[in-house]
Symmetry: none
């Protein structure tokens, strides 16, 4: 069974994710990427106009996958705070388990590429426009339990600490274990709770 076009496209994206995460956009030559994807250099250009488009497309894929992963069934039996903590823990676990995705996203947002992306939508609504698990939770279930404040600030208080700590955790500078995740989630909740 020879790989079809879609398979090849995915191979390229997978190789790109790894290489970009490991070496950065600027230290990941197309030739190396092609080799890692077991594809000819020229073939990459059949699926992506140029390196920039490849990066943007990769962002879309990673973003969509991330949003899908964070869907969690409603748990009406537990308290709102507990639901919040569960969501945060899910998020952190997911990103800890997917360091390439995290590094890529960080790099993307921290570059001219990411300027046009509304970063505050990261976890609240996917780039597709659909609302994320977090967004639904905050705008829905938890609405009454959260102090009224600017949406931007709310997002910053929730997402800021997570990304900040994960950066160091994934670089190996810090150990982010369960007790600390709990500390972090509780702190975030206290920051926003009514």
């Amino acid at each position: 069974m020879t790989p079809n076009g879609q398979q090849k496209r995915n191979d390229i994206l997978k190789a790109a994710l790894e290489l970009f995460a490991e070496h950065g956009f600027h230290n990941a030559p197309m030739a190396q990427l092609a080799k890692r994807a077991n594809v000819a250099v020229g073939s990459i250009y059949r699926y992506f106009k140029d390196k920039d488009e490849l990066i943007h497309e990769l962002y879309s894929e990673v973003d969509v996958t991330l949003q899908k992963a964070l869907v969690r069934a409603a748990e009406p039996s537990i308290s709102t705070q507990q639901q919040f903590v569960h969501l945060m823990t899910d998020l952190i676990h997911y990103l800890q388990d997917h360091p390439y995705e995290f590094k890529f996203l960080e790099q993307y947002y921290n570059s001219p590429f990411g300027v046009e992306i509304k970063r505050d939508k990261l976890l609240l609504s996917g780039s597709s426009g659909r609302q994320s698990a977090f967004g639904q939770f905050i705008a829905g279930t938890a609405k009454e339990s959260i102090k009224p404040m600017s949406a931007q600030v709310l997002y910053a208080l929730v997402i800021g600490p997570v990304t900040f700590l994960l950066r160091d955790a994934i670089s190996g500078l810090v150990e982010l274990d369960e007790p600390r995740i709990k500390e972090l989630a509780d702190g975030c909740w206290n920051a926003i709770k009514r």
Copy 2:
């Protein structure tokens, strides 16, 4: 008054700060940097061994300047929370007024260059080893008022939201005005207060 060597060095650093912030390390050729600094390419290499050293030296300068800017006289007459809010407001104002410095630092920490720098020390102790205004406040005055928790998490809860929101504010995606700064600072305080 013709510029002396120190002046020229500063011209180069200034041009580098601007170019790195605007285009990123990898899209700021030495030739363009030289032109912006009104200097010949070769002259840069009289002051800096290579591009990497220039970047590291620039980090030192920016960091030192930032630490100096955040020194604030003790205000024993107001509450600990109010002091915290003042410090955060100072920090945010400073970085809002110095977007190039902010973008450069973000980029530096998010690159192989900054790996060796403990990022959590960003605002808590200067790169010189001296403790920053923030560090002194948290380890001193505010110690009793803060909930016991891992230092890493504490830093994340304080610094994470600030950098997250500033990124968008400086990109022009979000307006970060006084009320929102107050919201943010209060949220951070609630996240860590005992």
Copy 3:
């Protein structure tokens, strides 16, 4: 018939030989070499890791070709001295006809590149380890006819005069015609004969 890779590699080596011989390693920019070879700069690096490797590879090629050229059928019917004279004459004719090769070799041996090459092996054993026509003759046929002496001195007495005179001949300072070649070969023989 479009040129294949091997052809292109040879074009580069040929252009390099000419340029190195004419201007020296340090005055033969890669760009000029590319132009002379009707090739893009980047293409050179597909065949050679860097300029140094190109030089070493060129040496190999030139050396192998030289060794091959000096093979001469055994002539048992003539005296040892005459055989020696034939060999020297062959060598001189070959190098006179291949001045680029001669200049390149001189330059190679006289540079850090050639330090690791035993220069005394120049004509006595090829770089491949196989013994050259000269080496076979001296260690074999002529062994009994040659005065016992240090191998180094023996080589110097044979090769020294040839290279010395060829340098001037090829520069056009001296005319090296048949009678003189005979004089030289006889002199060398007298220097080493028992």
Copy 4:
């Protein structure tokens, strides 16, 4: 006593000799040369029009010094061959003791610089036009004892082996001790003697 101009000029030439011998013309930047000579870069250009002229001037100096060193009182009491051997031994000893001078000369002759210099004059007449010790000996005392042959070939048979062997000796590839010097000198004599 501050150094006068002549002293400074000599410092530069000395530093140049060392640097050129150690690193080659092309790896001896003017700045390094200036530092080694304890002189400002600009000062070099007061004494020499450019780097090329410096190299040519250095050649003159080295050549003159070499010729002077090889003057040896006539020794009528010993045989012509013995006188020849003495001269050769003197030459080899001198060059062994002055490896920088030897390396410089080799490099000079082996570069576009040396093409215009009659190399065959190396030891037979100085660049000044005066005849060298060797030249006087061969054209005078030894004339009758030497086989009639082209002057060029004669020189090659005498000088070729010396330079060939010295190159390796000075590079450390070969040990050139007294017995070998004797072997070499005898060989050369046999090459040219009537």
